[in-house]
């Protein structure tokens, strides 16, 4: 969809580990950004590109799991790949439940990390695509007038023009005009597509 270069954000306070991960990820053509701590990552200006986070569970100052919650609070939806020194099962379970993309135990195979990173980036790309479409829909929806939104609500609910006219106390012609405007502004080719858009926007269903 987009051919933005993917970015990998590595947070590790161990400089030699940073260097190794940097070299490995760059060798497959990824852009790598290195941070020594979670705080440094939060403060830094990050490129707006599909990517993922690679971080050590044992971060200084803030545990990896706490950081995961901080990210969610800050609205950063980057997938997180955890690296841990030992396979701590409860920690893995918690991280996975909190939405970790992957959990690698040190020492890991280089290919395993690269696969995990690729997978995470793909997912992020998809998520970003969805988010972008949604954002466009929202822009379109915002161009609708109050009356048009009301008409759209009833159209999506599967009502025919006559029913809508009766419900809203409008003439049939006026309803048709509004409906045409809705379809045009929302760039919907069919009622079915409009329904999907309403779902995507999370509009309430009229009863």
């Amino acid at each position: 969809m987009t051919d933005d270069r993917a970015a990998v954000f590595v947070i590790d306070d161990d400089s030699s580990m940073q260097r190794s991960l940097d070299s490995l990820l760059r060798s497959v053509g990824l852009d790598v950004y290195l941070y020594a701590s979670a705080q440094e990552f939060m403060r830094a200006a990050r490129p707006d590109a599909p990517g993922c986070l690679v971080l050590d569970v044992r971060l200084p100052g803030m545990s990896g799991l706490t950081f995961q919650q901080e990210l969610a609070k800050a609205g950063i939806a980057l997938p997180v790949i955890f690296i841990t020194g030992h396979g701590d099962v409860p920690m893995t379970v918690r991280a996975m439940k909190a939405g970790a993309a992957d959990f690698l135990t040190k020492p890991f195979d280089d290919q395993v990390l690269l696969d995990a990173v690729d997978g995470a980036i793909e997912r992020d790309r998809a998520r970003r695509g969805d988010a972008k479409r949604l954002a466009e829909l929202e822009v379109r929806y915002r161009t609708l007038t109050e009356r048009e939104r009301e008409v759209m609500k009833h159209v999506v609910a599967g009502r025919v023009n006559k029913q809508i006219a009766a419900e809203l106390g409008l003439s049939l012609v006026t309803v048709k005009v509004h409906r045409g405007q809705v379809m045009r502004k929302m760039m919907a080719k069919s009622v079915a597509e409009l329904v999907r858009m309403a779902d995507g926007l999370g509009l309430p269903h009229p009863t």
Partner: protein, 486 residues
């Protein structure tokens, strides 16, 4: 002291002597010029001499009665006519005087005998050899028979040659012992002799001897007599060796236990460079496979691999040093270096417990004399304890501070391990160093007890107190190594 038997003997002798004197005077042909008093007087002298005052008086009494009855006319009666009164009076006085005189001698003899008896009793029953030697001429005046038991050689040898005992000294020590001994006897060494050496008995058994002695000097300051005692300290030595070995084993076990608590962190510490190496190797292969190959990047990955390899090796070396079981050494130890080693080993442990570590090390510290492994063990123990003491802390920073400084007296070194943990109550502070006292659910409680004995074996002290406002401080002071040592 005076048994009835002894009394009977002494009084019997007095009776016999006095009786014999009377009979001899009565029935033997008596030469002109002898008086009736001479023989009884001899009997009184002898009775006092060999029996003391009582038997002397007893012999006197018998003599008086006998002389009066049999020898002084009228014979056969106790009547004393006036012409004999003066002579008999002098006889009585002489008897009393002589008795006093010879009884005094008897008492001195008894006292001497008693003193001699006491000396022998003591000298021959104590487990040490007691000896005294004349130096001009060289002659062994006395050596207690214990010598025969300890040396396994006859006392006669030493009586012939006062240095015969040296033949048993272990050949490796013999020359040293002989020269030290002769220097001492010549008054050139210390006034007091104090030396320890092994001897080999004829049965092949080796014994350790601790020999101490003093000199007596004449008016010119020249030694003329030497005396002393020699003790067999073999058992003591064996016990000490066994104790030292037991302590060493226990310290080793305790070290392994502490390291066991760190297993997870140490595994992390090793897997970290391993992970780095694997990632670098993968990167290197990809840089070389690229079109065109990126040689510079590949070389950089090799450098990383080498650096990680070195790091893993250092971790292994630290652990190996601590897991080795070895006899404590006496090195000149830079305590700051040992602190750094211990912190390097526990960096993961403090990280995973969210503990910030601060150091305040005085770089100008003198070195201390001791065993680096054991001192690391003490520090490791204190650091691990401090980290664990803070694991329950949620409402304040977990802070571990290690400081080194000069001690109160200039020639000592002070190390402080300070935490912000749950701290010690007064009862706990007194008990933490007791063996098998522990506050950890799975602890054995020997770490601090062993740490204290290690520090004390180094001539130092280890104590605990409260840290303000939170936590505990463990302080240890160690004497600085003497000047001029490397």
């Amino acid at each position: 002291m005076s048994t009835p038997r002894d009394l009977i003997k002494r009084y019997g002798l007095a009776l016999a002597l006095a009786g014999a004197a009377l009979l001899l005077r009565k029935f033997l042909p008596v030469r002109e010029g002898t008086t009736v008093y001479q023989l009884p007087l001899v009997a009184v002298v002898l009775a006092g001499w060999y029996g003391g005052r009582g038997p002397g008086l007893f012999a006197s009494l018998i003599s008086w009665l006998g002389v009066l009855y049999w020898l002084i006319p009228p014979v056969g009666s106790f009547v004393l006519s006036s012409e004999y009164q003066l002579g008999f009076g002098i006889f009585i006085a002489l008897c009393l005087f002589i008795t006093e005189f010879s009884a005094a001698r008897w008492r001195v003899e008894r006292a001497l005998e008693e003193s001699e008896r006491r000396f022998r009793l003591m000298a021959e029953t104590i487990p040490e050899i007691v000896w005294t030697e004349s130096l001009m001429p060289r002659l062994m005046l006395y050596m207690s028979p214990r010598y025969e038991q300890i040396w396994g050689r006859p006392l006669g040898d030493v009586e012939k040659d006062p240095e015969a005992w040296m033949e048993a000294v272990h050949p490796e020590h013999r020359n040293d012992v002989r020269s030290a001994w002769r220097r001492w006897l010549a008054g050139e060494g210390n006034e007091r002799l104090d030396m320890t050496f092994p001897i080999v008995r004829p049965d092949g058994d080796t014994r350790w001897i601790h020999s101490r002695g003093t000199l007596l000097r004449d008016a010119h300051g020249k030694p003329y007599r030497a005396s002393g005692i020699a003790a067999d300290t073999t058992e003591e030595r064996r016990a000490q060796e066994a104790l030292a070995k037991a302590q060493m084993d226990l310290a080793h076990v305790s070290r392994l236990t502490t390291l066991g608590e760190l297993t997870t962190s140490i595994a992390h510490e090793v897997s970290q460079p391993l992970a780095g190496m694997m990632a670098s190797a993968g990167a290197g292969a990809r840089w070389l496979a690229a079109e065109p190959p990126d040689i510079a990047a590949a070389r950089a990955t090799l450098d990383s691999i080498a650096a990680d390899g070195k790091r893993a090796r250092d971790v292994m070396a630290r652990i190996r040093a601590l897991t080795k079981r070895q006899v404590p050494r006496k090195d000149c130890v830079d305590i700051n270096h040992e602190i750094q080693e211990v912190l390097a080993l526990t960096v993961q442990e403090s990280r995973s417990h969210d503990v910030s570590v601060r150091t305040q090390l005085d770089r100008s510290l003198p070195r201390v004399e001791g065993d680096p492994v054991q001192l690391q063990q003490v520090l490791l123990n204190l650091v691990v304890n401090a980290i664990e003491a803070m694991s329950a802390v949620r409402d304040r920073p977990r802070l571990l501070t290690i400081a080194s400084a000069r001690g109160g007296s200039a020639n000592s070194v002070l190390v402080e391990v300070r935490d912000s943990g749950t701290g010690l109550d007064p009862a706990g502070a007194a008990q933490v160093f007791n063996a098998f006292y522990t506050t950890k659910p799975d602890g054995i409680g020997i770490g601090l007890s062993i740490s204290r004995s290690i520090v004390e074996a180094h001539g130092g002290r280890l104590w605990a107190s409260r840290n303000e406002p939170h936590g505990a401080v463990f302080q240890l002071s160690l004497p600085a190594a003497k000047e001029g040592q490397p």
